[in-house]
Every structure is written in structure tokens, then in C-alpha cells.
């Protein structure tokens, strides 16, 4: 069994003519929490969708647990996804189901467990995210942080080997953010999972992640442990880590000369 659970090799992806990612090489070791960071719009979520097989690379390969995702049949892709939990940015809870039923969906769909066992399993997962008391609430009654925690319980209810988080901290207050961070780490370590966190929240990820990649300018511009990244002197990495307004990633979107635009 390979040490790496995920491996992206020489991967290029484009939307039509527009190249989003070019020649990406990335690997995720089993049992680790890996952060994929970078400015908005550089293709971080695209990486997540490539790993889950929702997108197919133009060139290169995506391997999960030694199997090439991009060449999988529809049936095998769905089989692989049963072993992956994904927390989407807004939680994506089913609005017509209450909290209990939302968490129970994967269990009902993929197992034939008796109702009593499903109930226990769901309640254990909700207890882990601190929301056992909210089983009867509808998604519209939850705050953003609570919805994210319910979604986390749903994503991990079948104890997947791999958890993928897409911007798990976006829009959360400090309490909500630190709760989610703790849950990511605890879930990963307690269940012996592997976690990939897509984010642009630098400080939080430098605390949480075992290893991090920084994506910018269509490729990986830096990688390493948080300590190694802090020592890096690449201006693209420094701009991102320090949150500088202007730099290799320009403040202004490309435009014509301002004088000709304003003064004719």
C-alpha cells in the first residue's frame, strides 16, 4: 500500500481555452492534514473536484488510493466516493430534511442497517459536533457555523478514509471557526483519516496543517510544513502569507490605460 493516499501527477486543467491549473504535482500522505491554500479564484476548489472525479484533467493523472480517478467508470467512481467525505463551502444541507435526516442520508443510501442502529450512529456523530440537541431542527433554523457542523457530521457519518474540506472556515465567526478547526483535527486523528483542507485562511491553517501547498499563477508556488513555508522568501508566497495588497498577484484586474478610459 502506497504511503500517499492522493497523488496528482503533471496535471493540467482548463475551462475551454482558459488554463486554470498547469503541471500540478501534489501528494497527500495517509493520516495527515494537508492544506491547499492560495488567493481566491486560483483553482483550489477545482483541485477538490478533480480529486472527487467531478472534473476530468486535460492531461496528467489523479490517483486516489492507487486508482486513477479520471479513467474510472461511473460505477467505480461512485464506489470510490463512498469512502470520501466532502464538506462543501456552504454545507449544502438538504433543505427539506431536518438535521437528523440530513446526517442519516448516506447511511440509509449505502447500508441496510436497522433503524435503531441508524439512530444511534447519527446521534453519536451529532454528539461529536456538539449538536445532538439540534436533531429536530430544520436547516433554515441553523446558524452558518451550526450548518457547517451538521454537514461535517453528515460527511463523516460513514467513517470515510478521506475527508475533503472546501473553505470550511469561510464566513464563520471566531468561535465557529475555532470549533470547526478543532473538529477537523480531532476527527482526522480519532478516525485515522486523511484530510485535505482547501482554504485561504493562512494563520488557522498554519496551526492546523501537517503540510501545505500554495497555489498561485496556475501552479504550485510553494509547499512544505508550516515552519518551512514561513522561511520561504518567494515573493508570491510572502504576499499571500502576509496578506499584502499588491505584488505578484496584482490589485488591479488587467485593464486599458486609466487616462484613456477617464479622459478619452
Amino acid at each position: 500500500m502506497s504511503e500517499d493516499l492522493i497523488k496528482l501527477t503533471n496535471l493540467t486543467f482548463s475551462w475551454g481555452e482558459k488554463v486554470i491549473l498547469s503541471d500540478i504535482n501534489l501528494s497527500v500522505r495517509r493520516g495527515s492534514v494537508v492544506a491547499i491554500m492560495g488567493p481566491s479564484g486560483v483553482g483550489k476548489t477545482t483541485v477538490l473536484r478533480l480529486i472527487t472525479g467531478q472534473l476530468i484533467p486535460v492531461t496528467g493523472t489523479v490517483e486516489v488510493d492507487g486508482k486513477c480517478v479520471s479513467s474510472m467508470s461511473h460505477k467505480n467512481l461512485y464506489k470510490m466516493r463512498r469512502n470520501i467525505g466532502v464538506l462543501l463551502q456552504n454545507g449544502a444541507l438538504f433543505t427539506d430534511l431536518d438535521v437528523f435526516e440530513n446526517v442519516a442520508v448516506p447511511v440509509r443510501e449505502h447500508t441496510n442497517l436497522p433503524e435503531a442502529l441508524i439512530r444511534r450512529l447519527v446521534l453519536i456523530k451529532l454528539q461529536a459536533v456538539g449538536l445532538r440537541g439540534a436533531v429536530e431542527l430544520m436547516p433554515s433554523e441553523l446558524s452558518g457555523g451550526m450548518a457547517r457542523r451538521v454537514a461535517l457530521a453528515r460527511a463523516s457519518v460513514l467513517d470515510p478514509a478521506l475527508m475533503l474540506y472546501d473553505e470550511p472556515l469561510a464566513g464563520l465567526d471566531p468561535i465557529g471557526a475555532s470549533t470547526i478547526l478543532r473538529l477537523i483535527r480531532d476527527t482526522n486523528d480519532a478516525m485515522e483519516m486523511t484530510s485535505v483542507v482547501i482554504t485561504h485562511s493562512v494563520e488557522d491553517m498554519m496551526e492546523l496543517a501537517d503540510y501545505a501547498y500554495i497555489i498561485a499563477s496556475k501552479g504550485i508556488v510553494g509547499q512544505g510544513t508550516p515552519a518551512e513555508l514561513r522561511q520561504n522568501t518567494d515573493p508570491r508566497i510572502l504576499q499571500f502569507l502576509n496578506g499584502e495588497i499588491d505584488g505578484p498577484v496584482p490589485f488591479h484586474y488587467p485593464a486599458t490605460n486609466i487616462h484613456s478610459d477617464l479622459l478619452g
Binding site: K79, R81, V86, A92, T95
Partner: protein, 258 residues
């Protein structure tokens, strides 16, 4: 590969849309596995789509019957043929108005609701979340709504016809004072089960397939934004209305060929 000729360009988008519709229709048929879970989902949708359309169908049916009787009575009285009001009412309802008006009302009430619901699920990434949980969104979301629509529309059309007959009879018997024996007798003598009642039934089945498919298609392939959902609901009503009227003509022409 060379770029398509500019004269061909306007044809490409509708052709691509047609191809996508056919593939989606095949996908829906392929995903229609009637397990216990899907049957339960279909029953839920029968309630939301069918049962919740009952009130609008019944009210509209009753008043359509009344106005049809009133208009027929005014014209037929010029020829001294008011005895035929019942026959005219039944024939117009069974052959055309019943299935067509039910389909138009259905697409406005249930079709828009289906398109908006699926569109919103797409915009809030619920469909994407299903795919990521290895749950086929077509099987789970689209198929129950499509099948429930196909089952609901013929039943609603039958109810519409019954209420329209009741409305027409109320007006003819109690307001116009037409003899009930003449009214019902002429109606029964004029309506044939195979050519009239069954035509109504088969038309409503065809309209059920068309309006339900347009609703799920519009919702599933909408741009996942507020504007996109708005366009999907409008498209559902407009395309359904046009398609229903075209198919109505084709079925009528086919069934009255001889």
C-alpha cells in the same frame, strides 16, 4: 478542425439543446428503478405535485364548464339547438379543453414549482453534495418528480373534466332551465368512449410526459443563480405551453386520420 460555417451557427444551439434533452430523457428512463425508497419518494411527490394542484384544477374546471355552457347556449339558441348544449360541452372538454387546459394549469402550478425547486437545489450545491455522497441526483431528485407528474396529470385531467361537467350542468339545469334528461341524454348519445374519452386520456398522458420533462430539464440545467432560476421557471411555462399545443394538434390529427 475548421470552425462551423456562420450560417450554421444559429442552428447549433437548438441542436445541442435537443441532443442534451434526448440524452437526459434516456438518463431519466435508465434511472427509473422502482425500489421501495423511490416508490416512497414518488408518493411524496404525488402529494406535492398532484394533491396540491387539486384546488386550482377543481375551481378552474368548474368555471370553464360554466362559461363553456353559457357561450354554447347563446350561440345554439340562435338555431334553436339549445338541447345540444350538453353534447357540445362534453365533446369540447373531452377532445380538447380538458387535457389542454389541465396541462397549462399544471405547468403553471406544479411545473414551475419543480423547476424552481431543482434549480435552487443546484444553486445551493445540494445536487453536487448528492453526487459527492455517491447518490445519483437524477435517480433521487429528478425521477420521482417526473414520474409523479406523469401520473398526476391524467388524473387531474379526469377531475377537471368531471368538475367542468358539473359546472356546465349547474348552469344549464339550474340557471338556463334545460331539462336534465335532455342535457344528459344528448351528452351520453354524442360521446364515444374510444374516440372521445380515451383521446382525452392519451392526450393528458402525453402532456404529463411533456410538461414534467420540461420542468425537470429546465431546473436541472439552469444556471445556478437567482436570475437562472427565474429564467428556468419562465421557460417551463412558455415551452410547456407551446409544446402542449403543438403535440395536441399532432395527436388530434393522428387520432382523427380516417
Amino acid at each position: 478542425m475548421t470552425a462551423p460555417n456562420s450560417t450554421m451557427q444559429p442552428l447549433l444551439k437548438p441542436l445541442a439543446m435537443l441532443g442534451r434533452s434526448l440524452l437526459f430523457f434516456v438518463q431519466i428512463l435508465g434511472s427509473s428503478k422502482l425500489g421501495l425508497r423511490q416508490l416512497r419518494a414518488i408518493l411524496d411527490q404525488l402529494y406535492f405535485i398532484g394533491a396540491r394542484s387539486l384546488v386550482i384544477i377543481m375551481i378552474c374546471g368548474f368555471f370553464v364548464g360554466m362559461v363553456l355552457t353559457l357561450q354554447s347556449y347563446v350561440e345554439l339558441s340562435k338555431f334553436g339547438a339549445t338541447d345540444s348544449v350538453g353534447a357540445v360541452l362534453a365533446l369540447s372538454l373531452f377532445r380538447e379543453l380538458g387535457p389542454v387546459l389541465t396541462a397549462l394549469l399544471f405547468s403553471g402550478r406544479a411545473g414551475t414549482s419543480i423547476a424552481a425547486e431543482i434549480g435552487l437545489m443546484k444553486a445551493t450545491e445540494q445536487l453536487s453534495a448528492m453526487e459527492l455522497m455517491a447518490i445519483d441526483p437524477v435517480q433521487r431528485v429528478v425521477v420521482p418528480r417526473f414520474i409523479a407528474g406523469v401520473i398526476s396529470l391524467p388524473l387531474l385531467a379526469i377531475l377537471f373534466n368531471l368538475l367542468a361537467l358539473a359546472g356546465g350542468a349547474t348552469y344549464a339545469l339550474y340557471i338556463m332551465g334545460i331539462d336534465s334528461g335532455v342535457f344528459w341524454g344528448n351528452m351520453v348519445a354524442s360521446v364515444e368512449f374510444q374516440s372521445d374519452f380515451m383521446m382525452s386520456f392519451w392526450k393528458s398522458v402525453a402532456f404529463g410526459v411533456i410538461t414534467s420533462f420540461i420542468a425537470v430539464f429546465s431546473g436541472y440545467f439552469t444556471t445556478p443563480t437567482g436570475d437562472g432560476i427565474g429564467r428556468a421557471t419562465t421557460q417551463t411555462v412558455v415551452v410547456s405551453a407551446v409544446a402542449v399545443l403543438i403535440v395536441d394538434f399532432l395527436i388530434t390529427a393522428l387520432m382523427t386520420w380516417n
